[in-house]
């Protein structure tokens, strides 16, 4: 019984020519600039987000070098403030928010649905150019002096400081529309373009995660847009919404900002969790334990994320009553997060586990998400948060969630779908060495930062007391190991493009729907309309031919 009715012998192209695929069916720069193919748009996003990741990563290295010694190490305080602001703004708005949904999501979402493309291919391309436009404004802002507000743009600092704040905010404002349009596109695609046999209860968990993310993008991003618009008006017209001297309220800005930016944390983490579901299922050859519980927790996290924004503001001067309510609501987040961790771990029990390089990233995710999640309990607890708020403990906590979880999942997903996207394999032995370098480097950077924070080292500090130096030095030293690992990974992928072995259809022996298409897929993904007769994780129903390499 063929669950995935496709040509399993790598026939590509509309003519059935196996050598014609989405990468070579049309040629020339214009065929990419005007492309409506979700796979090419996904690759274009991938190139852009990797560029911004490297750029903002170099900024992080500069921050770490400045903190190597107390006092002045390489730059002045003002320059330091601009550097960490660039790091934050670019990482959040130009890298991590679009990273998984817009690049990997764009590529695999229609394939996992058995569809030819997303519901609105033109809108998809428009989203990309809106994102590029937003990024352009951010870059212009950097060229005209940069911004020293931190990525949170808190008023009244952001309305009174020098620098190209309006341009930078405009960039984030514009990039937000890209996020909204991508969300609308994906929601519609999941509702309308599922192949015959793809019921909601068979929907891949990555798509449940993308679905929850898209809802957040559509509902939360407009709030950011309005907030940033008000900030621009405040700066240019001096209207006084956030200015205490004119009867405004600086704390109001924080409420507006976090009403978006807390859900944005889930816009970042949910797709990462989605990838980990795919990786664990493929490399254990079984369905995730408690499939239903896992997607319900995705939706629950999406819902709760709208109710906890003010836990970023326990010291802001909000009433004690508000603090109490938001602390209680924040603890709700622990339940679905815990359920997911328990289910992922439980899936390993009596499974058939292959620790290929993508799986290593998934296992590292599990370990690091534990740390990120459990340190969240410290911060949800009011009395303890008061001490830890705005210290390096918070910096380490959110980097464990953002990098240790989301970005590790992104790297895992990139390794996992790389053969499908490029038609080339990378060197597995190198990939494992890269993984261990990145893993050791990453944890070495951020574990000392928890200790720094507990000892009372505030964040966004240019200089510090000598008692903090040892830990700062350790953190900086490991940041170089992490950097070596990441450039090695980049080099490995470039080598794969140039000299990589040809990828088989299904190198990871997965039962996932997207692996039914040839590597790389033809223009419209599948040779014939697929009909799904089993779930994407029903390994006990999948035939040997389906999970074979070719």
């Amino acid at each position: 019984m063929a669950a995935i009715t496709t040509d399993q012998h790598g026939h590509g192209g509309h003519d059935g020519d196996p050598n014609v695929n989405y990468l070579n069916n049309t040629r020339g720069i214009w065929s990419w600039i005007y492309t409506l193919d979700h796979k090419r748009i996904g690759l274009m996003y991938l190139a852009a987000v990797i560029f911004f990741f490297i750029f903002a990563g170099v900024m992080a290295l500069l921050v770490r070098i400045e903190l190597l010694t107390p006092g002045r190490t390489i730059v002045d305080p003002d320059t330091y403030n601009r550097i960490f602001t660039i790091h934050g703004v670019v990482m959040v708005f130009l890298f991590i928010i679009p990273a998984i949904p817009a690049s990997l999501g764009n590529f695999v979402l229609p394939m996992m649905l058995g569809a030819k493309d997303v519901a609105f291919p033109r809108l998809n391309l428009l989203s990309y150019y809106i994102y590029i436009l937003g990024a352009t404004f951010a870059v212009i802002s950097l060229l005209s002096g940069g911004v020293d507000t931190g990525w949170t743009f808190y008023t009244p600092y952001s309305t009174t400081t020098n620098g190209a704040v309006v341009l930078m905010v405009l960039g984030a404002f514009i990039a937000g529309f890209s996020s909204i349009l991508t969300g609308v596109n994906f929601i519609t695609t999941i509702h309308k373009l599922r192949a015959p046999g793809l019921t909601w209860s068979r929907l891949p968990l990555f798509l449940w995660a993308i679905y929850a993310t898209s809802i957040l993008q559509v509902l939360a991003t407009p709030v950011l847009a309005i907030t940033l618009l008000l900030l621009m008006l405040e700066r240019t017209l001096d209207i006084g919404i956030f200015d205490a001297h004119k009867g405004g309220d600086p704390v109001l800005f924080q409420h507006f900002f976090w009403f978006y930016s807390h859900p944005a944390v889930y816009i970042m983490i949910l797709p990462g969790m989605g990838i980990v579901n795919e990786l664990i299922a493929t490399f254990t050859h079984r369905k995730i334990m408690g499939y239903r519980a896992v997607f319900v927790s995705s939706l629950a996290l999406a819902l709760f994320s709208f109710l906890v924004w003010a836990h970023h503001m326990f010291t802001s001067g909000m009433s004690e009553y508000a603090n109490m309510v938001f602390s209680a609501l924040t603890f709700l987040v622990a339940i679905p997060s815990g359920v997911k961790v328990f289910n992922w771990t439980g899936t390993l029990y009596k499974a058939s586990i292959w620790t290929a390089s993508p799986m290593l990233y998934a296992l590292a995710f599990l370990f690091q998400f534990c740390i990120g999640g459990l340190t969240g309990l410290f911060l949800a607890m009011l009395a303890v948060d008061i001490h830890l708020h705005d210290t390096y403990f918070v910096v380490a906590h959110f980097h464990y969630v953002m990098v240790g979880s989301t970005v590790f999942a992104f790297w895992g997903g990139l390794h996992y779908w790389w053969p499908k996207m490029t038609g080339k394999m990378y060197d597995e032995k190198t990939a494992k060495r890269v993984f261990w370098t990145v893993f050791v480097g990453y944890n070495g950077v951020f574990i000392p930062q928890f200790v720094l924070g507990s000892r009372g080292m505030p964040r966004r500090y240019y200089d510090y007391l000598p008692q903090f130096q040892t830990l700062h030095m350790v953190s900086t030293f490991f940041s170089w190991i992490l950097a070596v690992g990441l450039f090695w990974m980049l080099f490995m992928f470039i080598q794969s493009l140039r000299h990589g072995k040809k990828a088989p259809r299904n190198p990871w022996n997965s039962a996932g729907y997207e692996w039914g298409a040839p590597s790389p897929p033809p223009l419209e993904n599948f040779v014939k309309q697929p009909v799904f007769t089993r779930g994407p994780y029903d390994y006990h129903l999948a035939t040997d031919a389906e999970i074979a390499e070719d």
């Binding site: 507000t149 704390v251 369905k287 328990f342 607890m381 009395a383």
Partner: protein
């Protein structure tokens, strides 16, 4: 259960792991919670990572592995959903209870005004005395901080007391703590507030550089007698130094040093070198062109008490207003006269 667990905090807490030495009566509750959740976190991380590593090794894929449907364990799933619910309710309650101790002041609390501005702290005592960057508090007496900001957001953070609260322009926020250990403990600014140009000296000796990170003060927990003696003394000129030298001292203590250089180099504000007694060009105000003015005694006084009135051309109106005594202003003027 909740009562039992929270009453444990009344017994001496275990040594605080990686927390700074506690100096207040409210700290042990926070430390107890921190340690408890710390060990819980270690336990879960070890169990989950341990199981993960053990199973990955034990169930390594072999050739010819049969592929089974994942079994369901409904009771286990319900258990790991429901049991954490009770645990987080306990955490919430315990955290809230300890938090409220630092939020509600008793009737006889000593009220200390705290004002944050770029980039130093000003403390005001009940008798009206103000002092920069050094705060004296009596040991064993509950203190209520009433916190405000003159320019942008700051945050009053005392790691030794486990307390932190934002200083917000246009509102007063409060914090409570009861110092119970004699000695000094630092105050940091924990809400980002920018940096001056260049690399000026911080207002407090020994503090880090760089604006936000340089905004450090010192709390001195002293005996009641010492405190009473300190508060009664007005701001006095130190014995045996000239007015100009006192002005130089005030220049540093009031953080003038972070924005105004004395060697002619560029700063956030105009340099004081060669300023006094010369004409300065002014920024155009709302009322139109201001032209220039003589930087004389009257101009310096006005610029200290109402800094936005006449801003030197090329600089932003970012200086907070100062409340200095007649004598202090005169001393600063004497100091400026020496910078020709």
């Amino acid at each position: 259960m909740i009562h039992l667990l929270t009453s444990l905090s009344l017994t001496p807490p275990p040594a605080a792991f990686d927390l700074p030495p506690a100096i207040s009566a409210e700290s042990p509750d926070v430390d107890w919670l921190y340690n408890m959740i710390y060990y819980v976190s270690i336990f879960f991380t070890v169990v989950i990572t341990g199981l993960m590593l053990y199973w990955v090794r034990k169930y390594k894929r072999q050739k010819g592995d049969k592929r089974f449907e994942t079994p369901h364990y409904p009771r286990l799933e319900i258990a790991w959903t429901v049991i954490p619910c009770f645990f987080v309710v306990f955490l919430f309650h315990a955290g809230f209870k300890a938090f409220m101790k630092q939020a509600i002041a008793g009737q006889d609390a000593l009220e200390i005004g705290v004002r944050g501005q770029k980039w130093f702290w000003t403390f005001r005592y009940p008798n009206g005395r103000e002092e920069n960057n050094h705060l004296y508090v009596p040991v064993g007496h509950q203190v209520k901080f009433v916190i405000s900001a003159a320019d942008v957001l700051h945050a009053f953070y005392v790691p030794g007391g486990r307390i932190k609260k934002d200083a917000v322009p246009g509102m007063f926020t409060t914090l409570v703590f009861t110092p119970n250990v004699l000695g000094d403990t630092p105050v940091y600014c924990a809400e980002y507030c920018g940096a001056p140009l260049g690399y000026p000296e911080p207002a407090l000796d020994g503090a880090p550089h760089g604006g936000h990170s340089a905004m450090m003060a010192m709390i001195h927990v002293v005996s009641q007698e010492e405190f009473d003696k300190f508060v009664k003394e007005g701001p006095k000129k130190p014995e045996g130094i000239s007015d100009a030298d006192w002005g130089k001292k005030l220049y540093k203590e009031n953080a003038c040093i972070t924005c105004h250089t004395t060697d002619g180099s560029k700063g956030t504000g105009p340099t004081w070198k060669g300023m006094f007694g010369h004409n300065v060009e002014l920024n155009a105000g709302l009322s139109g062109g201001m032209g220039s003015t003589m930087a004389n005694e009257d101009y310096v006084r006005e610029s200290i008490t109402k800094p936005q009135a006449k801003v030197v051309m090329g600089f932003n109106p970012v200086m907070p207003p100062y409340k200095l005594s007649e004598k202090q202003v005169s001393a600063i003027i004497e100091y400026m006269k020496t910078l020709q």
